[in-house]
Amino acid sequence: MLLEVRNLTVRFGSKTVVDSVSFDLEASSRLGIIGESGSGKTLTTLAIIGLLPETAKVSGSVTFEGKELIGLADRDFSAIRGNRIGMVFQEPLTALNPLMRVGKQIAQPLRNHQGVTLKEGLKRAMELCARVGLPDPDRIIRSYPHQLSGGQRQRIGLAIALACSPALLIADEPTTALDVTVQKEVLSLMNSLVAEEGSSLIFVSHDLPVVASITERVAVMQNGEIVELASVNSMFQDASHEYSRKLIQAARTSDAEFGHFTESPSA
């Protein structure tokens, strides 16, 4: 088992924001986490990678590659983050350093974790740019984030996350800030890269059709709890929890409405 989460609980003061969350993730498998804003999906992932603010009280257990991550010292965590676990965040404009050329940012994890020189790192950054489908890598690595489009920035985010070939990629609403046409490109890119690398994926989103398109299993979160965890197929056929059923119903209604408008009745 690559990742085992057991009774993960996060409290801020007296408020429980993640409540006894448990799930497993095997190597090369994919899990979607879906829920409304405030349901605890982002906090769950931040707890896994140890990026919660110090005011948060975390209990339970997270085992990754056989190692307990809860309570792990910062220095040991740094050896895992960006190396064995890659992360992609929602808004690439805030996730990237505005003052640093993107080539250097892509090279950073390689320099930190694999001890490569800046020169070698930049060379690898150019290869990574090509892999994430950015044209003209030579120019791209010398650009600052503000000189790139939203889609290009998110591709850079993906290049940084995948630089060290992580065993697990955590993507938190990676396409929410993007236009639909760009979202489609980034999703298909992420899909093929994760498959090529053989990485596992945790994909957090509020958007059920998006999650269903990229993961095999879905965990539905509400008020800090996982209320249902099942394969995408069985969830759609026979969701057991009231809230999952509502989510699926809403997605179906909107999908049917759109289908009604786009497909001619004979098709």
């Binding site: 236009d179 639909v180 759609f236």
Partner: protein, 260 residues
């Protein structure tokens, strides 16, 4: 059916800050030569990606921004009209995020009262407030509350109530459900559909989400780089898009497994 809103050769060009000393100012053509005809009672969707000029177009339609070229006509008269109060009573707006569009220091009742006072609405304000709060499906006692005490969906209902208070003929909604959770989004869309039908409103709905427009609008305009690249009946445009960009938009909408 009579024409209620019309744009003729409408353009809005922004000049950007100089890139450096002695350099030319670049311009951004946010809206370029847009010609629209909106019939009374129509439900028109404006779709496009971020930066396509949707919101600038909305501001021009509302008379909140001045065109660089062309004009907006309301019932045949170019705006700004002599009597802008009358225009604002008849053309109202709902914005994307009620957290920023509602004044956090005002109670719900006062928020809804504001347009009635500012626009010199003559009917009894207290009665109208309760009426319109009920109309959007909120309990009456909510008028005493502040926006932060409400849920996201309730806040957007308040924003809709405020817009409807002066009994407008046209409602312009700029991404009214983008900031809301999926289930709440569903409720607000149903509410907007019911209200437009019951009140005979003309709806102009701006959205990046094609399924939202499919659900609410009979007509659609597709914007790209400030230009209206395609317009027509929603069903015709979505089933048989002619413009390359419209095709890309439609195929990019994520679909559920089992459907195509």
């Amino acid at each position: 059916m009579s024409l209620i809103l019309e744009t003729r050769g409408l353009s809005r060009i922004f000049s950007l800050p100089r890139a450096g000393f002695g350099k030319e100012r670049a311009v951004r053509r946010a809206v370029v030569d847009v010609n629209l005809k909106v019939e009374e009672g129509a439900r028109l969707g404006i779709v496009g990606e971020s930066g396509s000029g949707k919101t600038t177009l909305a501001k021009l339609l509302l008379g909140l921004d001045t065109p660089s070229e062309g004009e907006v006509r309301f019932r045949g008269q170019a705006i700004p009209l002599e009597d802008m109060h009358s225009f604002r009573r008849q053309v109202q707006v709902v914005f994307q995020d009620p957290r920023s569009s509602l004044n956090p220091r005002m109670r719900v009742g006062d928020i809804v009262r504001e347009p009635l006072e500012c626009l010199n609405v003559t009917e009894d304000h207290d009665t109208r407030i309760i009426e319109v709060i009920t109309e959007v499906g909120l309990p009456k006692d909510l008028v005493q509350r502040f926006p932060h005490e409400l849920s996201g969906g309730q806040r957007q209902r308040v924003a809709i109530a405020r817009a409807l208070a002066p009994r407008p003929k046209v409602l312009i909604a700029d991404e009214p459900v983008s900031a809301l959770d999926v289930l709440v989004r569903d409720e607000i869309l149903s509410l907007l559909a019911d209200l437009t039908t019951n009140l005979g409103l003309t709806l102009i709905l701006i959205s990046h989400d094609l399924s939202v427009v499919a659900r609410l609008c009979d007509d659609v305009v597709v914007m790209q780089h400030g230009t209206a690249v395609e317009k027509g009946k929603t069903m015709d445009v979505f089933r048989a898009p002619r413009h390359e960009f419209t095709k890309r938009l439609i195929t990019a909408v994520p679909r559920l497994p089992g459907t195509k």
